[in-house]
């Protein structure tokens, strides 16, 4: 076990080299109120051995570009054309065996959709991931002038508070099935948090690669699980390249490289859950963040699969994507009406979606165009305002990716690109406690007082005055 020898050296290293490492770490530990947690699944005790099911519904992998077929091994690109590989399912078997009732009788986690996921063990790694709240966002809707707005709140996904727990639960289950004992990933933060946490739960060795300038909460939220953390001087695209080179020679399971076909399927559950939570019907319009473009395409695939097997009625759903202006190669291609993506070097506070060379960007473009959706970008100030708007209207504290998505939602509404009557679902994919740096200095401060009633009364009056001033368009 070669990697174990460098373990101790690396664990402390990235934190020491980070500037402002103390910044906001304490607040990261503020417990989240219990009611924000989704209900726990019952199946959290994982047997140490896995059992193979005879009812695997996937049959192999297929190149999305040239159609070449492959066995369901740890490979991610076509040998002939380098197109991405997609999992192939037996949909006629799914149609026969899966019903709304059989899904509802399953665990209260993503594994209720196990038949649509590329694993063949009967006891997948279930840490209560998925089945996050779908919140009817009445106050945000009213503020924006919409009538039927929902928030899919993966800011409270389990166990690491981002949608990445979905993809990692699938990837690590498959990694175990394929015999890997060490798992790895390149990450903008959330994926590293999730891979480290779920690897710890599953007893897998873990080594993750991150850009060295990530937010303190994201770094700490990985280190706590005890993986080897490699902080690379460079942006995510450079980390990703390095990680791919490591994958050439290290026989590990890289969740976003050689396990990518399985990993990315986990995002389909964001489509399934919304359909189920809307009462087994599809929304009219979804708005989701775009980084590599994978999440966006998989939500689409999830909806299509539910139509294909008869779980929901067919219906056109518009897909709109959100990017940060400082890293918006997909939005740029959309505006320029191009069918290819020109990579960019990211410069934005929205680090979790700062991917300058998005692997699935062309597919995201295709989907936005063919569904009559849009792809829009917003600047850093709009992202901060988006975070605050969601917090103040719905009580949901999201990270920069969510701020981007809310800000794009607002921009699309203002441009008349979302019909107020459309049932619109906004995907909030991560938690604001991880990116506190982004809003530091843009929010209020506590009113610090002596423990005296009189001091409180003065402070309250001051607070109310400040509150009234907020409503007046005058400078004081």
């Amino acid at each position: 076990m070669r990697h174990v020898t460098i373990h101790l050296y690396w664990v402390g290293k990235p934190l020491q080299t980070l500037p402002n490492r103390q910044f906001a770490l304490l607040a990261f530990f503020i417990p989240i109120l219990p009611h924000e947690y989704p209900p726990m699944t019952l199946a959290t005790n994982l047997p140490t051995t896995q059992t193979r099911s005879t009812a695997a519904t996937f049959t192999g992998l297929k190149c999305k570009e040239c159609g070449a077929d492959y066995e369901a091994k740890a490979i991610h690109v076509c040998e002939y054309c380098f197109g991405p590989l997609e999992v192939v399912y037996d949909y006629s078997a799914l149609r026969r065996t899966v019903t709304r009732e059989s899904i509802q009788a399953g665990p209260n986690s993503i594994w209720r959709y196990r038949a649509f996921l590329p694993v063949d063990s009967d006891n997948p790694i279930d840490v209560g991931t998925g089945m996050t709240p779908l919140v009817k966002a009445n106050r945000l809707a009213r503020r924006l002038g919409l009538k039927n707005l929902y928030i899919k709140n993966d800011a409270v996904n389990m166990p690491t508070l981002s949608f990445k727990d979905r993809v990692v639960s699938v990837a690590l289950t498959r990694a175990r099935e394929l015999g890997f004992t060490t798992v790895s990933c390149a990450s903008t933060g959330n994926l590293a948090n999730s891979t480290a946490a779920i690897a710890a739960h599953a007893g897998l060795e873990c080594c993750v690669f991150i850009p060295s300038d990530l937010e303190a909460g994201k770094v700490l939220g990985t280190l706590i699980y005890g993986p080897t953390v490699i902080a690379v001087h460079g942006n995510y695209d450079q980390v990703n390249r390095l990680c791919s080179e490591v994958a050439n020679t290290h026989g590990w399971g890289f969740v976003n490289i050689n396990l990518r076909p399985y990993y990315s399927e986990g995002s389909k559950t964001l489509g399934y859950e919304v359909a189920e939570q809307l009462g087994w019907q599809l929304p009219d319009h979804i708005v989701a963040p775009l980084a590599s473009g994978s999440l966006f395409t998989k939500i689409h695939k999830g909806f299509q699969e539910f139509i294909k097997v008869g779980l929901v009625d067919e219906k056109p759903v518009r897909f709109s994507g959100a990017q940060a202006e400082g890293c918006s190669p997909i939005a740029q291609a959309y505006r320029d009406n191009q069918d290819f993506i020109t990579p960019v070097k990211p410069k934005t506070i929205a680090k979790s979606i700062a991917i300058g060379n998005p692997a699935d960007g062309v597919y995201a473009l295709e989907i936005a165009r063919k569904t009559n959706g849009n792809i829009e970008s917003v600047n850093d100030q709009e992202i901060i305002d988006g975070i605050k708007l969601l917090a103040e209207t719905e009580g949901i504290f999201t990270e920069t990716a969510g701020g981007t998505t809310v800000a794009v939602l607002k921009k699309l509404v203002e441009a008349g690109k979302i019909n107020p009557d459309e049932t619109t679902v906004v995907y909030i994919t991560g938690n604001g406690l991880k990116t506190q740096e982004a809003v530091q200095g843009y929010i209020g401060e506590p009113l610090t007082i002596e423990p005296k009633l009189e001091a409180f009364e003065r402070a309250l009056e001051r607070a109310q005055t400040l509150g009234r001033l907020d409503w007046q368009p005058v400078t004081v």
Binding site: T188, F340, A359
Partner: protein
């Protein structure tokens, strides 16, 4: 003009399972030709029928994406490291 080339796993069947090789070339175009001479069949995997680099493959020279340089015309110097990397998802 020997440069070091990092070979991704799906192409290592052409290079006798070597993950890194030495090769001659003054540009990426030229490098592709010498790669084809040394490892017949490899170019068809990297380029489409029109000879253009496939869209799901990335080339880097000394860690820089060639799309930020001069693309396939990017000039190579002795000792440069060229990395061939398939597109990957993530975040």
């Amino acid at each position: 003009m020997a440069v070091k080339v990092l070979i991704p796993t799906p192409l290592q069947q052409f290079t006798a399972n070597q993950a890194a090789i030495e090769c001659e070339g003054t540009t990426i175009h030229g490098l592709l030709e010498t790669l084809e001479q040394d490892f017949p069949g490899i170019k068809a995997r990297l380029c489409d029928d029109e000879g253009k680099l496939r869209r799901f493959i990335n080339f880097y020279v000394n860690s820089e994406d060639i799309r930020f340089l001069q693309g396939a015309d990017t000039v190579l110097a002795a000792g440069d490291e060229v990395s061939i990397v398939p597109a990957v998802a993530g975040g």
